[in-house]
Symmetry: C2
Subunit: 378 residues, 2 copies
């Protein structure tokens, strides 16, 4: 609800009923006009380009009509109404002094003290609320278990179908995680694996991974997940210069494990948006390639920060452990949460299947559920 609107040719100043004030530029308002000539009423897409808007666009009138804003733009002499609630939701006249490495609202970082979020196979198929809660856990915590599923091969593809699409790679639509002779990747051995994100040598990285257990009677082979964002937070607190180095220079990753495959990337271990939001972690000792983009006089400090970050990642106080039973699986946000496994050997077998998928599909499914089920979206 709007209380008052004042304007000059380039800026409209609004007083909302709740006492807040926000300014909007003429060009911004014109570009975001909600009328059917500007936005397609069917699919919501913008019908005009920035070049269609006169460069000398100005406001000739701005008034409050039934609590909403009615603005007239010149030289088009075009009058458009903006709902007050829409304006409040899109106000940009606000404090934005973000520290480097700030974390988006809706994300909760964690350590070993949390219980692994999880959901039940039958429940997420039966109940939209259960499905929503499961996907919301992946969005908030970066991982979630799914228990009580079938033990047939390829069941992981049914997990992906619940929210999105498999990302096929050189490893196939999915891959077998079990001991192989002459493994092309150390994942396909019984070795323990340090916590890592998958495929940092791939650009774009797969943003989700599903690991699905079919057999796990071997001794060992526990799964561990670690919140890379929490590790980065700890580094930022203890060694802000080191954090800035890992975020400020690209690392290199490389994989050439099999014929016809030669994957390389040049991306930082800690990825920030241009305005400093923490948006990604890449960490993988096996595929880390020589670092050649860090200036000579910063290399030792970079390595010290890398060692410190690795120390947080290896810290038992950070990791959530569980042993997957047949029919159990988990999803990790591969841009944030690292996964490890303890070594395994001896009698018994361990057979997991893994596949990649992307966050766009998961977050879209979640957002669509939130829109159609607003009562469940508390």
């Amino acid at each position: 609800m709007l209380h008052a609107a004042t304007h000059d040719p380039s800026v409209v100043t609004l007083d909302f009923a709740n006492g807040t004030r926000a300014r909007f530029h003429a060009i911004w308002l014109r570009d975001n006009a909600l009328d059917p000539e500007t936005r397609d009423p069917g699919n919501g897409q913008r019908l005009i380009t920035i070049g269609d808007i006169p460069a000398d666009t100005s406001v000739s009138a701005a008034e409050v009509v039934e609590g909403d804003l009615r603005v007239t733009f010149q030289p088009e002499d075009k009058t458009v109404t903006f709902p007050a609630s829409w304006l409040a939701d899109h106000a940009y006249d606000r404090e934005m002094s973000h520290a480097k490495g700030w974390i988006a609202p809706g994300i909760t970082t964690w350590d070993a003290s949390i219980e692994a979020p999880g959901a039940d196979w039958a429940e997420v198929h039966r109940s939209t609320a259960a499905k929503r809660a499961w996907l919301a856990a992946v969005a908030e915590y970066g991982f979630a278990k799914l228990t009580g599923g079938p033990t047939e091969p390829e069941s992981l593809l049914k997990v992906a179908d619940l929210f999105g699409y498999v990302r096929e790679t050189n490893y196939g639509p999915y891959f077998e995680v079990r001991t192989e002779v002459n493994p092309t990747n150390l994942a396909f051995t019984g070795l323990g694996l340090q916590a890592h994100t998958d495929n940092p040598y791939r650009d774009p990285v797969p943003t989700l991974q599903i690991l699905y257990c079919l057999e796990n009677s071997a001794k060992g082979g526990d799964s561990i997940v670690v919140d890379g964002f929490r590790a980065a937070e700890r580094l930022r607190e203890e060694n802000p210069e080191g954090f800035a180095l890992l975020a400020g220079y690209p690392a290199r990753f490389e994989y050439r494990g099999s014929d016809g495959v030669c994957l390389r990337s040049r991306r930082p271990m800690i990825e920030l948006s241009p305005d400093g939001q923490l948006i990604g972690i890449r960490f993988n000792n096996r595929s880390a390639a020589p670092l050649v983009d860090i200036p000579f006089d910063r290399m030792e400090a970079y390595y010290a920060a890398y060692r410190q970050l690795a120390g947080y990642i290896d810290d038992p106080a950070m990791g959530v452990s569980f042993k997957l039973e047949p029919g159990e699986s988990f999803i990790v946000d591969n841009t944030r949460v690292l996964h490890a496994r303890t070594g395994y050997s001896g009698a018994g077998s361990r057979w997991l299947q893994g596949c990649y998928a992307d966050k766009d599909g998961l977050l879209s499914t979640l957002a669509a559920l939130d829109m159609t089920q607003p009562e469940a979206a508390e």
Copy 2:
């Protein structure tokens, strides 16, 4: 070939036979040791973690042996040999003062004056050199045509099979680009479309797109491609502050065209690596959402830069035009090259199929071809 090696505990200084000198840190050398205890001889993956390397690692001996470097590390008392050529290839003791927006070696920016690079369907199937040249054109120019292909539906999937994997999305493994009643996307109308990158509302964006023509007898419907990197270069030259604004703040993109789909992203129009390399362009008037992450006092300058960038993109001197015939297709690097189409209508038909894929597969296939066919990689 090495001429001389000197060292102190933390740094080895090398004089190469060609007169260049480069320093390497003890910790860097130890981390990148090429011995079989450090790197798996089979798949090349690193077997140790940064935490396995003593924090007080130092060099106790460094000498040139048969032109290569032999180093002994303490406290492990471990001796490792590094080939001189490997050291030269990975030297990081060099000038790195990059300007914001520098472009990677191997990328050539272009305007309307170039001839569209292309290849022939039968040739790329028959000749490894032709296939390599076709993929190398996508890597260098960000697009390439493929002509002389079949006119059966789904032929575009065979194009993807030549180098990588389709990225399935809510639009399916592939989608039909033709006029629809009640289109969920303006692409599925006869309207002209301003040059754009696809799906900037998706994170990660599909990094490649294939558009394959099955019918094109309508009047109009020409394809136009524009080098977004060239447009960004022009902006950087003419308005460096504006370039910094478009690279320095995230834009927002959104798509909710159909049931169950709500895709949103928060990514800049011009994407730079942390050390300033130009690595991505996102530009799409239809799905651009309100900009809410630019501070109030920079919004007008941001809009001016956006308008200027759009002006370069719309400039006829920038775009390469062609009308696809049935059986012809093109690939675009969707992180760099924008594509447009002129409007079409009247008698005749226009039927394209489109799909997404990713650059990791294409660049991997290209790199593998270069390794097995070095003579073709001049």
